[in-house]
C-alpha cells in the first residue's frame, strides 16, 4: 500500500512543475461546481480534464466556480484561449470534454455544436 515516504521519492522525480495554476498566456478552463453542477456530474468533468492534462502533458489553468444560473445546462465548462472569446460549453459528457480539449485547446477550433454561450474578450 502507498505510504507518504513514496511521496517524497515522487517529489524528486517531478521536474517540471506543471501545476494547474494561474499563468500568463495559458489556456484557461473553468468548471461550474455549484450544487447543480455537482449533481449533474461536474466532479467527473474535472476528473476527465485532469486525466487529459496528464495524458497530453498540457499546461493549463483550471479553476472552479459556483452556480452561474444555467443549472439546466450543467455540467458546464468554459474555455478561454489567451486573447480569445470565452466560450461556455454545456450538457457535457466525458467524451465531449475530450473532444473540446483536442479541438479547442490544442487545435484552436471551437466545438460549435456544444457551445451554449460566448463572452467576447
Amino acid at each position: 500500500m502507498k505510504s507518504l515516504e513514496e511521496l517524497r521519492d515522487l517529489r524528486k522525480k517531478v521536474e517540471k512543475d506543471i501545476a494547474v495554476r494561474k499563468g500568463l498566456n495559458k489556456p484557461k478552463i473553468i468548471i461550474g461546481m455549484g450544487t447543480c453542477g455537482i449533481a449533474a456530474g461536474a466532479r467527473d468533468i474535472l476528473k476527465t480534464v485532469m486525466e487529459e492534462i496528464d495524458k497530453r502533458d498540457l499546461d493549463l489553468e483550471v479553476t472552479q466556480t459556483g452556480c452561474i444560473g444555467m443549472c439546466e445546462k450543467e455540467p458546464l465548462m468554459d474555455v478561454q484561449l489567451p486573447g480569445k472569446d470565452r466560450i461556455t460549453y454545456g450538457n457535457l459528457s466525458k467524451d465531449d470534454v475530450r473532444k473540446i480539449i483536442v479541438n479547442h485547446i490544442i487545435n484552436g477550433k471551437v466545438v460549435n455544436d456544444l457551445v451554449i454561450a460566448r463572452l467576447e474578450e
Binding site: L4, V14, R21, T35
Partner: protein
C-alpha cells in the same frame, strides 16, 4: 446526489466560499451500531443567525443568481430518508454540519468516489487546509494536507503527478480500511 461523497463536495464548497482556512471532514462508519455519520467543520465566516434558522429550506439561499438553495436541503433530506439526523450550528468562528444515516438503510447512497471529492477540493484556487478522517469500526485513516505539504516541501500540491498519486493513495487506504470496498 448519487453518492455521499458528492454531498460532501457540495457542502465543503460552502466552506471554501466562507473563506475557511481549515476544513475538517470526519466520516464514522460503525457497522455494529448501524451508523454512517458525516461531520464537516470549518473556521469560515459562519452563517448569520436569521439565515441559519431556515437554512435547510430550499427557498433560503445567499446567492444572487436564483432564489433557491439546494445543497443543505438535499443533504438533510438524504439523512432523514435514512432514519438519520441532521444538525447545523454556526457562529463567527465557523460552521459545523453533521448528518447521520442508518448504515444499512436501503436508501443510503454509497460513499462514492471520496478520493475524487478530496482531489477536487485541492484544485480550488483558494489556499486552505483539509483534514479528512475516516473511521471504520475500530480502524482509522487520516489524510491531512498539512502533513502532505510538509512532505512535498516546495513542490506544489496542485502538480498533476502529485494529484494523481494522492488519489491512488487515498483510494488504496480507504479500500484497505473498508475491507476491500472503495465505494
Amino acid at each position: 446526489m448519487k453518492e455521499l461523497a458528492l454531498h460532501i463536495l457540495d457542502i465543503v464548497e460552502n466552506s471554501i466560499k466562507a473563506d475557511a482556512d481549515n476544513i475538517s471532514i470526519e466520516i464514522i462508519e460503525d457497522i455494529e451500531k448501524n451508523i454512517f455519520s458525516i461531520k464537516i467543520k470549518d473556521d469560515g465566516t459562519g452563517i448569520k443567525k436569521e439565515i441559519l434558522d431556515n437554512i435547510t429550506d430550499p427557498f433560503v439561499t445567499t446567492r444572487k443568481t436564483r432564489p433557491v438553495g439546494l445543497g443543505l436541503s438535499f443533504f438533510k433530506e438524504a439523512a432523514k430518508r435514512c432514519n438519520g439526523s441532521f444538525e447545523i450550528s454556526s457562529d463567527n468562528n465557523g460552521t459545523i454540519i453533521e448528518a447521520v444515516f442508518e448504515h444499512d438503510h436501503i436508501d443510503r447512497a454509497p460513499l462514492g468516489d471520496i478520493s475524487q471529492t478530496v482531489i477536487s477540493m485541492l484544485l480550488w484556487e483558494n489556499e486552505f487546509e483539509i483534514k479528512y478522517k475516516h473511521i471504520f469500526n475500530d480502524e482509522a485513516f487520516i489524510f491531512d494536507t498539512k502533513e502532505i505539504k510538509n512532505e512535498l516541501d516546495d513542490t506544489k500540491i496542485h502538480n498533476n503527478k502529485i494529484i494523481n498519486w494522492l488519489k491512488e493513495y487515498i483510494d488504496e487506504n480507504i479500500s484497505n480500511l473498508r475491507g476491500g470496498e472503495i465505494n
